[in-house]
Symmetry: C2
Subunit: 492 residues, 2 copies
Amino acid sequence: MNTHFLHEILNPKSIAIYGANNKGTSLASIQLMNIIISGFEGKIYPIHLKLETVMGYKAYKSITEVPETPDLVIIVLPPNIVNQIFRECGEKGVKRIILISGGFREMVGDRANTFTEEISEIAKKYGIRFIGPNCLGIYNSWIYPENDKKAMNTSIWENLERNKFSIASQSGTLSSHIFFDPENLDLGLGKSISVGNEANIDIVDCLEYYKDDENTEVIGLYIEELKRGKKFLELAKEITSQKPIIAIYVGGSKAGNRALQSHTGSMAGNAKIYDAVFKETGIIKTDYVQEFLDLAMILTRGIYPKGNRIGIITNSGGPGAMVANNAEKNGLVVPEFSESLQEQLKEVLPPIASFKNPVDCAFDTNLPYFYINLPEILMKSGEIDVLIQYGVVGFQDVMDNYLKYDKISPYADFQKQDYEKTEELVHKLIQPTLKNSKRFSIPIFYVNPQNFSTFWSKKLRENGAMLFKLWDRPISCIAKICEYVDYRRKHT
Amino acid sequence: MNTHFLHEILNPKSIAIYGANNKGTSLASIQLMNIIISGFEGKIYPIHLKLETVMGYKAYKSITEVPETPDLVIIVLPPNIVNQIFRECGEKGVKRIILISGGFREMVGDRANTFTEEISEIAKKYGIRFIGPNCLGIYNSWIYPENDKKAMNTSIWENLERNKFSIASQSGTLSSHIFFDPENLDLGLGKSISVGNEANIDIVDCLEYYKDDENTEVIGLYIEELKRGKKFLELAKEITSQKPIIAIYVGGSKAGNRALQSHTGSMAGNAKIYDAVFKETGIIKTDYVQEFLDLAMILTRGIYPKGNRIGIITNSGGPGAMVANNAEKNGLVVPEFSESLQEQLKEVLPPIASFKNPVDCAFDTNLPYFYINLPEILMKSGEIDVLIQYGVVGFQDVMDNYLKYDKISPYADFQKQDYEKTEELVHKLIQPTLKNSKRFSIPIFYVNPQNFSTFWSKKLRENGAMLFKLWDRPISCIAKICEYVDYRRKHT
């Protein structure tokens, strides 16, 4: 049983919440609604001076009246009354608080700093550990290990698919709102902690917790400032030999630093120092949220390439050439295949095809070859470490589309696809290759420019394929993952 | 009346097509179906040795039997019979051909080159101009100027929204399949020409045509090789002083060149030479399709920034800081606002807000201020050239979502949004700012991480807002557009 104080905050059995009402317009109300709809099974005690009930739960005038000492207290109230509430919570025996409210350190002026000092002292006196202030709270899809549909969730619109990706972020948006469009994301979430101003709990605490957490395999960080640099460095080094860490660091630019000052009150550091820290600790660095999400998506699959040689299968020359070109620009290798491998490919491909890498199957590929045999030949060859496959996917979806038109359907000599059979087919086509991908430790990336909600795209994704609409995005991620693999080989 | 031969190819009144049947499995059949469903109003003459009808159209055994000389012939047949067909077309008086078939120059061996030589000679003899071989044909949403729902379309799944973006591409995928997901693209298309191997018509011909085409305002190119470098350079220089050109060049890497060799048979050049050509001609260069599409989307709006100073409005600190940081990394300026401008902002913003740039409105922004007043103050200030706005958008969509849950709806003291009123509201909020954007020539970028099909996102886009799900993508585009604007100022 994990006894880290963050584990307790993420897995409460009872919660008291300040600031929520029934109107839904306040942040506290939104957070309470999130807790309710995400399936929290424990007790909920809204604290409200006037209301009898909040969202159907009996409300209490103060924490003193609550019939038990709640495992966790969430506070979303103006800063000037927070110290009083902290005191009352301390008296009640509360040990864990999430302080959502802003208006502390990030505000200019002595008074604000006094607020932070006051609550810090109270927390110390009563042995309280708290997240915040100026944060959006937590997400934990592992609160009920036997039920992956429920979560402890203060901050995200709807529950995400459960996985072993865990976030610690100095931005609430980065810990939650980037998951607003799960349909087009293909990435779930395990745990997320919005640490805010870090008056008491910081990113280093989160790393300590995630390090030994069996439900965390990939860690994502958003950093504006590190308060405990040395400890961070030691810990990160220890972790990256086991679990990859992806980090966005914002700072170093004039405007960036100005933004940080008003955001969390951080005094941002020198970007070069952070770059050096990331390099020394094997942290995968990115400046872009999309890449942050893509890296997480790829790494949570747990299939690490052994080297940086890319194999490309395509049924269109342009995308093949672009992948090859950008791969080399990113420091990856697109090797020309050996003659014996080319001979093997010639046996299964039409004469119009190209065999050197990229393998260009042209338009008339048959599906089992495209999905099973070709990838298998390349994976078994020992000549590649990563595979990118463009095309074919969803061709039947295109054909179905034509049948919607009156000018086509009466004359067309072809049938709408049998969706049940196609579902089976996709399963049969994709599973052997995903098994090979694991067996040879060669990640495979599928690219299909169609909408993710088309039938083939949906089925490929349901079967576990990593699918992208364009071939642009995976390349830089692969390059960064290869660098990490290289680091890890040297440091374990 | 435009008399360029490409104008004729893109605007035929009658078409003969070789290779199509009713089974739909051949490329020719797909192209014929595209022509039919996209709303072509002219005559269609399928040529087929055996079939009586193809997709409901009377079929002819040969071009000789067709009752008129078609304006355009499309051929999708094996290369070894194409020369015979070219001859027959020549005898019939055909002057314009699209040769889709592959298997010419890109195939290794003398025979293949002979094919190209043979058809080139025949074309010369009969005065035929032809696109291809090894291409996907054309798209023209301007064929019926009075009807923007119809197009001449051999290559794209469904018609796109008509605009003034025109493509010439040595990759068929780049000229068509990148438009497979219009819902998430927000970019229409005017004209597109897949030039293939360029045996007769090349990218320079396309540039000549687009230069004087009143329905082309932005040009997109995909280049693997330039056959007429000097002419390209002259022409590009002339064009970019009036119309922006966006180009992807693939070549220069070992694997890239190998891919090109098998794709269109190009002997790729030195990437440095191409970079120099692009720089000298003011062509906006990109390596990524997503950026290619984003640049086109932004440029077709026709609002060019006058400089490179970015204003940022956000209701979340993290995204604001990231935009600021990445903007500076891309060579853009995020100026600290003057004291007088900060005073103006203080008057309209809550005290918790930040005024320096980024402007962080915190959580409780009211909509007219966020959408109208704040942007107006910044645009009028003369202190910014581009505006990026993160947040707020779609908040009511989030609230509606809660009402779907039985555990919320009976207790919630708020109503589902009135969609009719919201539609009006979005219109009222967005139109004054879009007018200001034009008036001050300051492009404005909205960012909302929600799915594009949510109500607010849809309405914003319908109202003409440039909307992105993440703040990553616009930055590098803005930097490239600012460079182009700078080039144009110096060269006109």
